[in-house]
């Protein structure tokens, strides 16, 4: 991640991060994003099913 990309993200998020912490934040984000950039976003597993009907709580649309 370049400093320019980092600064763009900071601006978009509307937060303030002091100059002396930018290097740390870039490392945090860069290290965590690196593995994601090695995977094919079309083929990794999806988050389905988003809704299940096995939980103990009330079931959406099911009469008790």
């Amino acid at each position: 991640m370049t400093m320019d990309e980092l600064r763009a993200r900071i601006a978009a998020a509307g937060v303030t991060i002091p100059e002396n912490r930018l290097s740390m934040v870039r490392k945090l984000l860069g290290d965590a994003l690196a593995p994601l950039r090695t995977v094919d976003s079309r083929t990794i597993k999806t988050l389905e099913p988003a809704v299940t009907f096995e939980a103990a709580g009330p079931h959406v649309g099911v009469k008790s």
């Binding site: 509307g14 912490r21 290097s23 934040v25 994003l33 990794i44």
Partner: protein, 459 residues
């Protein structure tokens, strides 16, 4: 009275029932030890001596009436992200420095009902995430094996208090290794149960989908006793499991012959300190002599585990956003910017990280069809010196523990040696979901065959 600072929970119970000692005597001895040692170790953020003595007197009365519950009169401390009614809960942060909750966390309540003696609240890394840097409102705990080193975090006070014999049991929480890291760095035993096994109701949130609560002690057996008192369904925690609670203490008996242990050889050994690598292989050799079968595995998705940080920091920012935007000055230096990193993760990146997590869960589930337990080094280096930990550029080091927060598997961290410089080294055992009994039985068998967990720091 003999020195009981390091007796196990089972031994303590036996002494109580033989009337050799009483809970009040032990509690007074523990308070004296805290008075003597904590000025240098800073494990406690709030001491509750009056509450402790009241708990001890109540336990004493129950013992006289023949009550034989195993946690009766056992002195414990609680990580200071567990809310305690009428007792301040700081989260290790200036933001909550004077906050006195009017509710009690489920786990604290359950352990109190089980008859434990509450000695006080144990310092945590700020909001279970950030080491207190110099100038912070609160002092960070120090490692009893060498006070120039951190005790690990975020359950730092719990690790330091157990290693120094100030408590017999403690609560911890683990979002990316906060129970297991202090266990490794302090030479104690910590257990992250299955996600959903122990309630998080009344515990300050770091990251909903990764947060676990669990016991910390000096042995696997003591962890079993504490977990027995902590575990169980709680309607106040949406992730809480309704599964029945197993008999963790009863499951400790029996051998481990034929148990299949898999060692994922990718990811966990990258950059490992040679002393930890050797201690880990020695631990495997011991497990083989006990009759376990050990085989190597490769679980490719573990190589993507660093994306774990995106989930944790996004959820942490979501939790803290309001306070970060309105009262940023109350957050510790460096922690504030770490949390703000969560604002920079895009929605797509968060989703992709969760998808990678699903991939990891699927691959591990497949591997767990061929083995009963995974064994890995808990950390790749011994306890970090403060002077290194205080470098913001250290950022968030690659973790051997985070992968098991992604999968939610029960994972026990226990000591397996010492470095030449005298710092503890550890390894971890991970079982299938809700198979806490298997992990505890294996850890207990290992500790019966070794003495690493009986070594004491020079305090």
């Amino acid at each position: 009275m003999n020195d009981t600072h390091y007796t196990t929970i089972a031994e303590l119970g036996a002494l109580y029932r033989k009337r050799t000692i009483s809970p009040v005597e032990v509690t007074r001895a523990q308070l004296a030890r805290i008075e003597k040692l904590d000025g240098a170790l800073h494990a406690f953020v709030t001491l509750t001596p009056e509450r402790a003595l009241a708990d001890a007197r109540a336990a004493e009365e129950l013992l006289k009436r023949g009550d034989d519950r195993p946690l009766l009169g056992v002195p414990v401390g609680h990580k200071d992200i567990y809310m305690t009614r009428g007792i301040r809960t700081t989260g290790g942060s200036a933001l909550y420095a004077d906050w006195v909750p009017d509710v009690e966390s489920t786990v604290v309540s359950r352990l109190a009902d089980a008859g434990t003696v509450m000695l006080g609240k144990l310092i945590t890394h700020e909001f279970a995430f950030g080491l207190q840097f110099p100038g912070h409102k609160f002092q960070p705990a120090r490692n009893p094996w060498n006070v120039a080193h951190i005790p690990g975090g975020s359950s730092s006070g719990s690790g330091a208090a157990l290693a120094s014999g100030m408590v017999h049991g403690a609560t911890g929480s683990d979002t990316g290794g906060s129970i297991r890291g202090p266990a490794a760095f302090c030479g104690i035993t910590g257990f992250k149960p299955t996600y959903g096994r122990c309630s998080r109701a009344g515990v300050l949130t770091l990251s909903w989908t990764l947060d676990h609560t669990g016991p910390m002690a000096r042995t696997a057996e003591d962890c079993a006793y504490l977990l027995q008192g902590m575990a169980g369904h709680d309607a106040k925690d949406p992730a809480s499991s309704a599964r029945p609670v197993d008999d963790y203490v009863g499951a400790l008996v029996g051998n481990v012959r034929g148990l299949r242990i898999g060692v994922p050889r990718n990811y966990f050994f990258d950059g490992i300190d040679p002393e930890i690598a050797t201690a880990f292989e020695d631990a495997l050799a011991t497990l083989k002599t006990l009759g376990a079968e050990v085989r190597d595995l490769t679980i490719p998705a573990f190589d993507l585990a660093r994306s774990f940080f995106l989930i944790m920091v996004s959820e942490a920012f979501a939790y803290h956003e309001k306070d970060l935007r309105t009262k940023p000055e109350l957050y510790g230096d460096v922690l504030r910017e770490r949390l703000l990193t969560g604002a920079l993760v895009t929605a797509s990146e968060y989703v992709q990280a969760q998808r990678v997590r699903m991939q990891t869960c699927a691959e591990v589930a497949e591997a767990m069809k061929t083995v009963d337990v995974l064994a890995t080094p808990t950390t790749i280096a011994p306890a970090t010196p403060f002077k290194v930990a205080y470098d913001p550029e250290l950022a968030f080091p690659r973790s051997n523990m985070g992968p098991f927060n992604l999968t939610g598997q029960p994972t026990l961290a226990l000591p397996c040696g010492f470095s030449k410089s005298g710092l503890p080294l550890g390894f971890q055992l991970s079982g299938r979901a809700f198979e806490e009994t298997t992990v505890l039985r294996l850890g207990h068998a290992y500790q019966k065959a070794t003495d690493w967990h009986t070594r004491r720091p020079p305090v």
